[in-house]
């Protein structure tokens, strides 16, 4: 008697459970990035961006009685290549994710591109390394502007708007720094100029007297610094201590609000380019920036914005198809084009055959400790 009752209840429960799960579409998205290790703060930014989007989507779906739910599975790679690969394989083969966000560092990203290509999992990354999209994978999509793209705009602004002809380049000796520095050099060459000095520094250097002394031997009126944020924040500080009055140019790394915090008054006058600006007078951007700082008590960077958009893009793909699979998401992403882009916080997003996006950059200057837009995209 009791057993019979139990049986009924069980069957009833199973029916309820199966009807619910049949209707529900769960999008599993893996996030690989450094949550510990040297680049932990960047890794957290991209994770938070994705998290915010997932929470918003899940809340909105619940409210509208929708059937799509996003499940984020985060993995730490401590910015160690081996761990990125292991984490990615784990996410793909064990968690059966539909899409992958990451990795954060270019070398780690380069190492997992063959893995996502092998298992045909769409991968969205914030890495800027040029080679990332050159491995013949149909499944890699760069959410960030590639180095040639933003360095060209920066060089153009420095030379044509600010009228600097003598520009030096210094960079962290890693994949990111080297990629940006070389791209900037190429951009200068396109305008018939050559850098007056081009020199690397070792990641984590603390005293830059030597490098600065060499810069002073050149006629440089401006310098492009790229690489690790704590490093060039120190360079700029030490430059001011030496009384060097040189225009500092930077990219998205320098657009990070922490740069102004770390460099203090020495950051004054710095000009940077970024594809995303928190002060841009665009409703979606303001909404995102406010929600982000409410949720995490941090100012959003372009990394957060890019991953926020990536999650919405994946959601859009699934929503339109009414079904979820790796191929549906990859196909949707590939089919975006200039006429039919994805509209997000980063603006209009679409990718070329290699997975490279097109962005136009904000030109921003640090004035009175605040970032002020001095040139709008396309200007």
């Amino acid at each position: 008697m009791k057993l019979k009752m139990l049986g009924f209840i069980l069957i009833a429960l199973m029916l309820v459970a199966s009807s619910a799960s049949a209707a529900e579409i769960v999008i599993k998205i893996g996030v690989v990035g450094p949550l510990t290790g040297d680049f932990a703060s960047g890794g957290h930014q991209q994770l938070y961006g994705a998290q915010l989007a997932a929470e918003e989507i899940n809340a909105a779906e619940a409210e509208a009685n929708g059937n799509i739910r996003i499940e984020l599975i985060r993995e730490d790679d401590a910015s160690i290549v081996d761990q990125s690969v292991s984490a990615t394989i784990r996410l793909i083969t064990r968690e059966n994710i539909h899409a992958l966000l990451g990795a954060f560092n270019s070398p780690a990203t380069l190492a997992i591109v063959p893995v996502t290509a092998r298992y045909r999992v769409p991968q969205y990354t914030v890495g800027v390394g040029t080679a990332i999209t050159q491995q013949n994978s149909d499944y890699i999509f760069r959410m960030a502007p590639a180095a040639p793209l933003f360095t060209r705009e920066l060089a153009d602004f420095a030379v044509n708007e600010m009228e600097h002809r003598q520009i030096a380049i210094a960079y962290t000796q890693d994949e990111y720094g080297e990629t940006c520095a070389n791209a900037f050099k190429t951009a200068l060459a396109e305008m018939g100029l050559e850098p007056v000095m081009m020199e690397p520094w070792t990641l984590g250097t603390r005293d830059y007297t030597g490098l600065l002394t060499r810069i002073r031997q050149t006629p440089a009126t401006a310098i492009y610094l790229t690489g690790a944020i704590a490093d060039y924040a120190l360079i700029v500080r030490q430059m001011r201590q030496f009384g060097m009055d040189i225009q500092v140019l930077g990219d998205m790394g320098m657009a990070d609000p922490r740069y102004i915090e770390l460099a203090g008054s020495a950051a004054e006058g710095t000009v940077v380019v970024e594809p995303f600006n928190v002060d841009a007078d665009i409703p979606v951007v303001t909404e995102f920036v406010n929600a982000f700082s409410d949720a995490f008590n941090l100012q959003a960077t372009s990394w957060a914005a890019e991953m926020y958009d990536a999650v919405y893009l994946i959601y859009q793909a699934v929503k339109e198809a009414g079904d979820v699979s790796r191929e549906i998401i990859a196909e949707y992403t590939r089919n975006l084009n200039e006429d039919q882009p994805f509209e997000g916080v980063m603006g209009r997003i679409f990718f070329d055959d290699t997975g490279e996006p097109t962005y136009e950059m904000y030109k921003v200057q640090v004035i009175d400790g605040k970032k002020v837009i001095v040139g709008f995209p396309g200007e």
Binding site: L35, T36, G37, D38, A40, S41, H44, R74, D76, A78, I80, V81, D82, Q83, V85, S86, A87, I89, R90, T93, R94, N105, P107, L110, A111, V113, P114, G129, A131, Q135, Q173, D174, E175, E178, T179, E199, P200, W201, T202, G204, T205, R206, D207, T209, G210, L211, T213, R214, R216, Q217, A230, A233, L234, Q241, F242, G243, R258, L262, G264, S265
Partner: protein, 648 residues
């Protein structure tokens, strides 16, 4: 390569007076920091014989404590400085009391202690992220930003203030050692523990004092460096490497170390002006190796202290494995193990299979280090460099020159072995001097990987490395790679078992146990050390080749000093001098961080903590567990078969 260096040197500039002064002040300021941290190293090495890898992390803790008191709570700078010193000293005390004392007492090899300290370093670093966050934190301005003008040079007053504080700390320490009874007895204890004990010096107190003091100097250095630059959780290691070099340069004496730190600071600041900054560290390290080899020739004989208990294993440790009466059981066991191993890929998912493969790749390299470290007792901290040489060689040979896979990996072994052979003069060093020398070599090779762009593509790395093909077989799938690796490691094990037995093996062990006694017995100890080093590094090259073709992407990032440290951890937690131990250790290091994924942010804390616990309770490494198990099996069989053989 050296033409490259020379080319850069031509860029040299002539310095004016003011620039020279500026460079000098900067060099001295960073040098003061190196000196203080180096003092921590020296004290530890002199009294406990320990390379304290956590020294840089103690400085990091000091830097953050200073930031908390000065930047957050708002106490005056000098008070914050003192508080940070005292509290970091306290951290040093806690380290000794709760983790290291047990290992010190158990008289395990010093390298065990080193690994435990490394574990603590992981704990500190991850703990700092949890407490203070992953972002660098800047101290609020202390003395304003207006520079002082001195002979035309602009000098930041902060530089002077911090240099003053650093010198003050060093003078205090010097006076403490010279003038106080506690200080004098510490020196006595570090010079000759036995005699000092007879004179009534408590060895325990010396130990406690050492840890407290090195915590304190670390704390002082941390506040200085963080005030000058930033407090950030990973600031410890780069500074610590230089500081260790400074300590070695100063011969690990108190005054020598102070001067060594200042010297390294000045050398590296000035060298940047003349030499491509990319090679800056190569210059510091190159000079260091030359100095070590040419001037000091420090002669600490290899081999362990007679007071250390014999923990490492000799040959076949278990009766069960060697007694002819157990032949049948052994064969059954071997067949079962083989079947199990070869069926494994069918029973596991891809992720586990991937981890199995990574474990095998690192096992090949770890076996090489086992030969160097476990068998001849030479501590190498440059193993990752040879791993990298192998990886680059094979990648370049297959991609640029169209070598077939087998020839390419052969090339990897040969190139790695040749480089090792060229570097054998470094084996004249021993103990922690050798550790330093190999660390410096590893760093220099790493810098060449980054800077020699024409060959290695620099920091971009090499991508699209093809999967191996041998005749008609392609090893693209994980399971086929697993079999390929298994066959390779079996061949390697056969070669190694030849090398480590018979006359060769006995000579290696004799060299490790007591170099002088071995030499007296007519063993050419240098020859055996060199053979072990070359074969060991060749194995690392082989592992590197397999790594490159497996990951299909390599960059200098995969061959940093952290990987060298990982290799050392593998060998020690696996069990020094144990061939299976190297494999077990490799798997432990590959698998543990993966198994611990479920605890997310606390992962590396637990991993570090486990290293400490292993060293506390398993001084013979994880192989000890296996050994105990075999002994248990042996007893079981003996009991059931009523077998009464002779028990050795």
């Amino acid at each position: 390569m050296f033409i490259l260096l020379l080319n850069s040197a031509v860029k040299g500039v002539i310095l004016s007076m003011e620039v020279t002064i500026q460079l000098l002040i900067s060099g001295l300021a960073i040098g003061t920091v190196y000196s203080l941290i180096a003092l921590g190293f020296s004290m530890m090495i002199r009294s406990v014989n320990l390379i304290n890898f956590a020294q840089g992390d103690l400085a990091m803790i000091g830097g953050f404590l200073g930031f908390t008191f000065y930047g957050i709570i708002g106490l005056p700078f000098f008070i914050s400085f003192l508080l940070a010193i005292v509290l970091t000293g306290g951290v040093g005390l806690l380290m000794e009391r709760f983790a290291l004392r047990r290992i010190l007492r158990s008289r395990s090899p010093v390298i065990n202690l080193t690994i435990a300290v490394l574990g603590l370093a992981f704990v500190f670093r991850t703990g700092a992220i949890l407490i203070w966050g992953a972002d660098p934190r800047a101290y609020p301005s202390i003395v304003g930003d207006d520079p002082l003008i001195f002979l035309g040079a602009r000098i930041h007053p902060l530089n002077l203030l911090l240099m003053g504080l650093g010198l003050l700390a060093m003078i205090t320490l010097h006076l403490f050692f010279q003038k106080t009874l506690t200080g004098i007895s510490w020196r006595a204890g570090s010079l000759n523990p036995e005699v000092a004990r007879l004179m009534g010096v408590s060895v325990n107190r010396t130990m406690v004092l050492t840890f407290a003091l090195s915590g304190m100097v670390g704390g002082a250095a941390g506040v200085l460096v963080a005030a000058l630059y930033f407090a950030v959780f990973n600031m410890g290691l780069p500074i610590a490497i230089k500081a260790f070099a400074a300590a070695a340069l100063g011969g690990f004496g108190i005054v020598g170390t102070m001067l060594g730190g200042l010297a390294i600071g000045i050398i590296e600041t000035f060298s940047v002006v003349y030499i491509n900054p990319g090679y800056r560290d190569a210059i510091s390290f190159g000079i260091l190796i030359l100095l070590l080899l040419l001037i000091y020739k420090p002669a600490v004989p290899a081999g362990r202290d007679i007071r250390e208990k014999l923990r490492a294993v000799r040959g076949s440790s278990s009766y069960f494995l060697s007694n002819p009466n157990f032949k049948k059981q052994r064969i059954v066991l071997l067949i079962l193990a083989t079947i199990f191993w070869f069926l494994l890929p069918q029973r596991t998912d891809l992720y586990s299979l991937h981890l199995l493969n990574m474990g095998l790749i690192y096992s090949i390299g770890a076996l090489g280090l086992q030969l160097i470290n476990g068998y001849t007792g030479q501590i190498s901290l440059g193993h990752a460099a040879f791993f990298g040489i192998g990886a680059y060689t094979s990648a370049i040979l297959t991609m640029n020159f169209g070598f077939p896979f087998l020839l390419a990996i052969l090339g990897s072994i040969i190139v790695a072995g040749l480089v090792a052979a060229l570097l054998t003069p470094i084996l004249r060093l021993s103990g922690f001097f050798l550790a330093m020398g190999t660390l410096a070599l590893g760093q220099i090779i790493y810098l060449f990987m980054i800077n020699w762009v024409n060959i290695t593509r620099g920091p971009y790395g090499i991508y699209g490395i093809p999967t191996p093909e041998i005749g008609p077989f392609n090893f693209f799938e994980f399971d086929s790679y697993f079999y390929l690796l298994t066959v390779t490691i079996i061949i390697q094990l056969l070669i190694f078992s030849r090398l480590t037995s018979f006359k060769m093996g006995r000579s290696l062990l004799a060299t490790r146990e007591n170099e002088r006694a071995a030499a007296a017995c007519g063993i050419d100890t240098f020859k055996y050390k060199a053979i072990a080093f070359i074969v060991g590094c060749g194995s690392a090259g082989l592992a590197g080749a397999f790594y490159a073709h497996y990951q299909s992407y390599i960059s200098p990032d995969s061959f940093t000093v952290l990987i060298s440290i990982n290799y050392l951890i593998m060998v020690v937690i696996g069990g020094l001098g144990s061939i299976p131990g190297a494999i077990i250790g490799a798997y432990a290091v590959v698998l543990l961080p993966e198994f611990l994924r479920f605890i997310a942010d606390y992962r590396m804390i637990v991993f570090g903590g486990l290293l400490v616990v292993f060293m506390m309770f398993l001084p013979g490494g994880l192989a000890q567990i296996g050994r105990e198990f075999l002994r248990f099996l042996e007893r079981y069989v003996v009991k059931n078969k009523a077998f009464k053989g002779d028990r050795r």
